[in-house]
Symmetry: C2
Subunit: 199 residues, 2 copies
DNA sequence: CTAGAATCGGAGTGATCACTCCGGATGTCA
DNA sequence: TGACATCCGGAGTGATCACTCCGATTCTAG
């Protein structure tokens, strides 16, 4: 059901997809990811279909709604982001893991339009979705580790950290943003996140 | 001519508008400001016309293009913002003026959708427009004052400050944003902007 | 190989939008 | 007050989208 809602149409009964259907599904997913990354949610279904080399009917058979397609891609992206966060939680240095993750997210945002951007631009309520919660937990763990390691101030809580993260990601998508500006902006935010007297 | 560029159609030759035309013009402007504030650039012309109590034809006579209407409103809003910034430059305390302005902008953004948001959502190049430059200058002046007063670190330049400002404004428009979260977020950013060891 | 089911392709549908056009209403000036 | 330029209203236009439908095509089981 969660799978069906996420765009797993055609597999409602659990029957495996035919080989060509499976092939087309990933083609559509790839084309849509590229199109959405480049033009945001304004990318039209027809142009996605053309890029994927299939007809629009095929796109809509796999993803009954444009929203479903959007959500499938966002969940995939969220999972990737989440995987990095989890890896940093498990294996990374707690003192730097949080900052590494923050910087990486912002860097991604400059190239691809942000997950969050697509979310609220379409008014899709993904707040309660499982992957979002997982990401929240992972970032929370990184934040906790950094606080315990003394590299992030103790009074910095998750909501404001997420606000800073999404805000900076959005700023990164604007014209004139480059690596130098990114460094300078992150320097200020990171300094603000450090404990008093620990620059 | 600035007026004509800003959507002053019908006054091309400089002839003053008829009384009813003038009245309708401000009605449209007011309705459009409210509609754009509530729904962003997605607000349709017809609903703006209805809210203003006029026909769509009237809207398009005054503002030949939706873009013109958008720009007229943004320029007006920019001018207001600019006026506050200038007032703080002239009369305020340089040590706090910059922070006051920053906080005020973010607070505005939570209620009305940001100027910047409307700008790039429609792909309108307002970068070179005169009011934008004026705002840039005003914020630059506030920043200079604060740096000289020692309340902002000397290595914080205008581009990253504007990135932080627009990013935070955008974060402020998201769900779950309230006064408490605003304070906590601004605390972190402001601390990051302060000189080392000056919390 | 073949029957039959699963899938495909893309013209067609209905809705929405920005924008146009012109007969009628209204303000203005003598 | 009357004549006339100006302005108004809103039905109409063409373009764009998300989404549907069904004959043609392709896969797969036997």
């Amino acid at each position: 059901m969660a799978k069906a809602a996420a765009g797993g149409a055609g597999a409602a009964g659990g029957r495996p997809l035919r080989a060509d259907a499976r092939r087309n599904r990933v083609r559509v997913l790839d084309a849509a990811e590229a199109a959405f990354a480049a033009k945001g949610a304004a990318a039209s279904t027809e142009e996605i279909a053309r890029a994927a080399g299939v007809g629009v009917g095929t796109v809509f058979r796999h993803f009954p709604t444009k929203k479903d397609l959007l959500m499938a891609i966002m969940e995939a992206r969220l999972e990737r982001v989440c995987a990095l966060a989890d890896a940093l939680v498990d294996e990374g240095d707690p003192a730097t893991g949080f900052f590494t993750f923050f910087g990486w997210m912002v860097e991604q945002a400059a190239a691809k339009r942000t997950v969050m951007d697509l979310v609220d631009q379409e008014g899709i309520a993904l707040e309660r979705a499982e992957p979002t919660q997982a990401l929240r937990r992972a970032v929370g763990a990184l934040l906790d580790g950094a606080r315990r390691a003394g590299t992030v101030r103790p009074d910095a809580a998750l909501p404001e950290v997420l606000a800073l993260l999404t805000g900076t990601c959005q700023a990164a998508m604007r014209a004139g943003w480059d690596a130098r500006l990114r460094e300078r902006t992150l320097t200020i935010i990171f300094d603000g996140l450090r404990p008093a007297g620990a620059r």
